[in-house]
């Protein structure tokens, strides 16, 4: 069912070439940290997408963890918030 839609979409004026897709995939690869995929390596698009998903999930988890940490710290700190904000902006 999606293949029908794909064919009709590709026959429109904005034809997406494989080259364009490869270009975008390599740009995506460039955003991933070196630990996940070595940028010099030529990896498959599927691998890049998979690592991208893993990376986004880990970033979401990190936001969760940092939110909890901030929540604890907001409760702890006894200084008035003006001083906190001031010192953070220095």
């Amino acid at each position: 069912m999606s293949s029908r839609r794909t064919r009709s979409r590709q026959s429109s004026s904005t034809r997406i070439t494989d080259e364009q897709i490869n270009d975008l995939v390599s740009k995506l690869q460039a955003v991933l940290p070196e630990a996940r995929i070595r940028r010099s390596d030529r990896v498959s698009a599927a691998k890049v997408l998979q690592e991208t998903c893993n990376y986004i999930r880990s970033l979401h988890r990190e936001v969760d963890g940092l939110s909890e940490r901030l929540s604890e710290l907001l409760e702890e700190s006894s200084s008035d918030q003006a001083a906190i904000i001031r010192s953070l902006l220095m």
């Binding site: 955003v31 998903c53 909890e68």
Partner: protein, 156 residues
């Protein structure tokens, strides 16, 4: 001592268009300050955590503004009366406008669930939006780490 006290908006962002660190810092710190002001004594850690996480995604969306599809989707979601867990929008069955290559279909579908508004994007748009979304997420994480450091220094 100097190395610990890093300014929040340190250095010019390489990509000033979508991940403006000063704008992100402004939105996020203001939200944090508001959360602290409106936190009642004895309110649960979990509730405050959720508010902070929501503020994190809000500051990301605000700094990217309406320039990006993912930030528009995120802004819509944040303004809707019933907030959902997490930042990803559940895929809508109707909007299967995917033209992903068959080999990458499974990964592309997973990606659509992770990127806000991803369900309705064309394949190429999805790839572009994802790269920008990741850059913004990185900036937000960096910002939150800096705030944690700053607050940690103060309470010592």
């Amino acid at each position: 001592m100097d190395s610990k006290r890093r300014p929040i908006h340190g250095g010019i962002s390489r990509n000033p268009n979508s991940t403006s660190k000063p704008a992100m810092a402004f939105h996020f710190l203001r939200a944090l300050s508001h959360i602290r002001l409106t936190t009642r004594r004895g309110s649960s850690l979990a509730r405050r955590t959720l508010r902070i996480r929501r503020a994190a995604y809000a500051s990301m969306a605000c700094s990217a503004g309406t320039r990006r599809a993912w930030s528009r989707a995120l802004l819509r979601k944040l303004r809707s009366p019933a907030p959902r867990r997490g930042a990803s929008v559940l895929p809508r069955r109707a909007a299967r406008t995917t033209s992903s290559p068959d080999t990458d279909l499974r990964q592309a579908l997973a990606l659509r669930r992770l990127v806000p508004g991803g369900a309705a994007m064309e394949h190429c748009e999805l790839l572009e939006e994802t790269a920008d979304y990741i850059r913004c997420l990185n900036a937000q994480v960096w910002l939150m780490q800096a705030v944690v450091h700053g607050l940690g220094d103060l309470s010592n």
